[in-house]
């Protein structure tokens, strides 16, 4: 039996129970902004929203993260690694685009000679309970880019909103083990599963933004000096909204902070900032918004594709909704694909 159901009114009790054993992260409203926060009870969570403003990546890649602390003595340096993880984590209410974002981030952080210990240990320590999208936004374009409003990639469990209850699908062994801790959950009726299937088909059809990303990488190979970037650069103000609110943008900077003891800290960085590429000589190879925006697009739709076989974008639409000057990545993608 891979399906269970839970009445919506019992969700707080389930979350409450989870918090006793796990660190639970779920969408929490702080005035107008909803983001993934650690919850300590069952009533703080909002699941009936389209998506969080900030993506859940910050659970695994916090904006500030102490990698290690150190003391420089007369003869030696004492290093103390990051503190051990407290408890296993459960992320609840992750939308399919964002869960898919985790899968892409996993590829990024586990590639190369060095795996990223700090990111991966948190990922391994976490279970993701996803929440399917019955009502995708007009800015969602997940289906054009390998995802789906009912996609299960990156999830251990998938919740589907059936109005008065959630249908729970066990996606992985980890998810199954998690659900076994709640023997009071009822098995799903055939009608529930069928309703879920119907909703998933409707949701796919409800996606309004359809883009063609086929061959984008090859087209971009020939477009480094295209005048299109000048137009994009003219409008861009060069802030970090698109990168910071992106579920897959994960570039970081590392710096040392000295107080009583020194800390090596990792912070979010953005390819949209001048400092990102400023060299010691004072030269900046990406001197304006044009080069920086080109880099962002190239990384997502060309370099990442060459390295990992897929785009580094999940179609969540946050950059479209939140850009202060309405720079729309869908228009950029269309501009490339019509070349």
């Amino acid at each position: 039996m891979n399906w269970k159901v839970i009445a919506k009114k019992k969700m707080p009790a389930l979350i409450e129970e989870l918090t006793k054993e796990y660190q639970v992260f779920a969408p929490v409203r702080n005035e107008s902004v909803v983001s993934f926060e650690r919850v300590s009870s069952g009533n703080e969570t909002v699941l009936d929203l389209h998506n969080t403003k900030k993506p859940p990546k910050e659970v695994f890649l916090p904006q500030n993260e102490i990698l290690f602390t150190y003391r420089v003595g007369q003869e030696s340096v004492e290093i103390e690694g990051a503190p051990a993880l407290e408890r296993e984590m459960v992320l609840l209410g992750v939308r399919p685009c964002d869960a898919r974002g985790f899968v892409l981030l996993d590829k990024f952080f586990s590639s190369g000679e060095q795996e990223d210990f700090n990111y991966l240990r948190k990922r391994e320590n976490a279970a993701t309970v996803g929440l399917a999208c019955n009502h995708p936004l007009s800015t969602c374009f997940c289906t054009s880019i390998g995802g789906s409003p009912f996609g299960k990639e990156g999830m251990d469990l998938l919740l589907q909103d059936l109005n008065d209850k959630y249908l729970i699908e066990m996606v992985t062994e980890k998810g199954k083990k998690l659900i076994e801790k709640f023997p009071w959950l009822r098995g799903a009726e055939k009608a529930d599963i069928e309703k879920g299937k119907r909703l998933s088909e409707d949701a796919e059809k409800a996606i309004r933004s359809k883009l063609s990303v086929e061959g984008l990488s090859e087209k971009l190979d020939r477009m480094f000096d295209d005048p299109m970037w000048d137009q994009i650069g003219l409008k861009c103000v060069g802030c970090g909204v698109c990168t910071f609110l992106c579920p897959t943008c994960c570039c970081f900077d590392v710096l040392d902070e000295e107080t009583e003891e020194a800390k090596r800290v990792r912070i979010w960085d953005s390819c949209q900032f001048p400092l990102f590429t400023l060299q010691g000589s004072g030269h900046n190879p990406r001197s304006s918004a044009k080069e920086r925006m080109r880099q962002r697009i190239m990384h997502k739709f060309s370099y990442f594709v060459k390295n990992f076989g897929e785009s580094f974008c999940v179609g969540c639409g946050r950059c479209i909704r939140e850009c202060p000057v309405n720079q729309d990545i869908r228009e950029i993608i269309d501009g490339i694909s019509t070349r």
């Binding site: 005035e31 003219l234 103000v237 802030c239 609110l245 902070e257 001048p274 202060p324 000057v325 309405n326």
Partner: protein
């Protein structure tokens, strides 16, 4: 609105075809309801891309600094004031800019509309003179514009650009004597601890994306103090002490210069009330130096000169 848009296009057409400007900086149709997007037009045949409505909210003055060509720019009262400040500060050459002034009764605050929709998505919006019709799946609201106008516009006393080369449309009646410092005064009446707690709460939301700085027409420093690394003046994290220094220094840096266009608050993805902090410095400058930024090309800004009669009771 339609007439204003047509006249604006005619003027832009003329400026471009007569070679008086190389580019028109204005507003184009956005891709989302209630959004417009900055638009750069080099050819007369592209002029129909120009739009004018109550969602033309970006301060376009920020796109003029650093340009060396001749620019025709669409400017509301606050845009024109920012251009004026930048001209006084020698960042914009007046003779390089043709200001197409547009009287503006106020722009729509999309965040207020979003709050009203309470999570529902607007799929279409029609802006009329007095109201906005917002449509989505299974709902339609007719919203009175005045209830969804940006706070900065509600108390704006410069709806007509104080400087322009050509004015489009009829002059807008200025706002009745609304107290633009009402919010600041109410904050002032609270205790220092309460004010500190308030700013801590607001600024703890900051993610250091710098959207506020980057949309600001007066944040034109080639290298912002936060981007300096040799030496690095302060931390780059989004911990409260770091974010507070950023916002406090920025507020100081636009004191006596800010024209209260509200672009910072509109741009903030975390919905921080950024205007409030800067508005206090505006109030101080008004009270101590009787100066309002972006009104006069001749008057020397208070932080640009020293007068013997300046109040200086803090020097002991």
């Amino acid at each position: 609105m339609g007439n204003v848009e047509n006249s604006m296009r005619e003027i832009a057409q003329e400026l471009l075809s007569e070679g008086k400007v190389d580019v028109i900086v204005g507003y184009g149709q956005g891709t989302l309801p209630l959004r417009t997007t900055p638009c750069f037009i080099n050819k007369a045949e592209d002029v129909p891309k120009l739009v004018w409505n109550a969602s033309c909210d970006a301060n376009l003055s920020r796109y003029l600094v650093g340009r060396e060509d001749k620019v025709g720019v669409v400017a509301k009262g606050c845009d024109a004031r920012a251009i004026l400040v930048c001209t006084v500060e020698k960042q914009i050459l007046r003779e390089n800019v043709v200001i197409i002034g547009v009287p503006c009764p106020g722009v729509i605050d999309k965040k207020k509309v979003e709050a009203k929709l309470d999570g529902k998505e607007a799929l279409d919006a029609i802006i009329e003179d007095e109201e906005i019709k917002v449509k989505g799946e299974e709902f339609e609201y007719v919203l009175p514009i005045e209830d969804f106008t940006c706070d900065s516009c509600l108390t704006c006393r410069h709806r007509n650009p104080p400087i322009y080369d050509v004015l489009v449309g009829e002059k807008a009646p200025e706002a009745p004597d609304a107290d633009e410092f009402a919010e600041v005064s109410s904050l002032e009446s609270r205790s220092a601890e309460e004010r500190w707690a308030h700013f801590e709460e607001e600024l703890s939301k900051c993610i250091r994306c710098y959207a506020c700085r980057n949309v600001c027409p007066l944040c034109y420093c080639k290298e912002c103090f936060v981007d300096q690394t040799m030496p690095a003046w302060f931390g780059k994290t989004n911990r409260l002490s770091d974010t507070m220094i950023y916002h406090i220094v920025r507020a100081f840096h636009v004191a006596g210069r800010c024209v209260d266009c509200g672009a910072c608050s509109r741009a903030c993805p975390m919905d921080i009330n950024l205007r409030q902090l800067v508005k206090k410095t505006e109030k101080i400058v008004r009270e101590r130096f009787n100066y309002e930024a972006g009104i006069s090309l001749e008057e020397v800004p208070p932080l640009g000169e020293f007068k013997m009669q300046d109040a200086q009771e803090f020097i002991r």
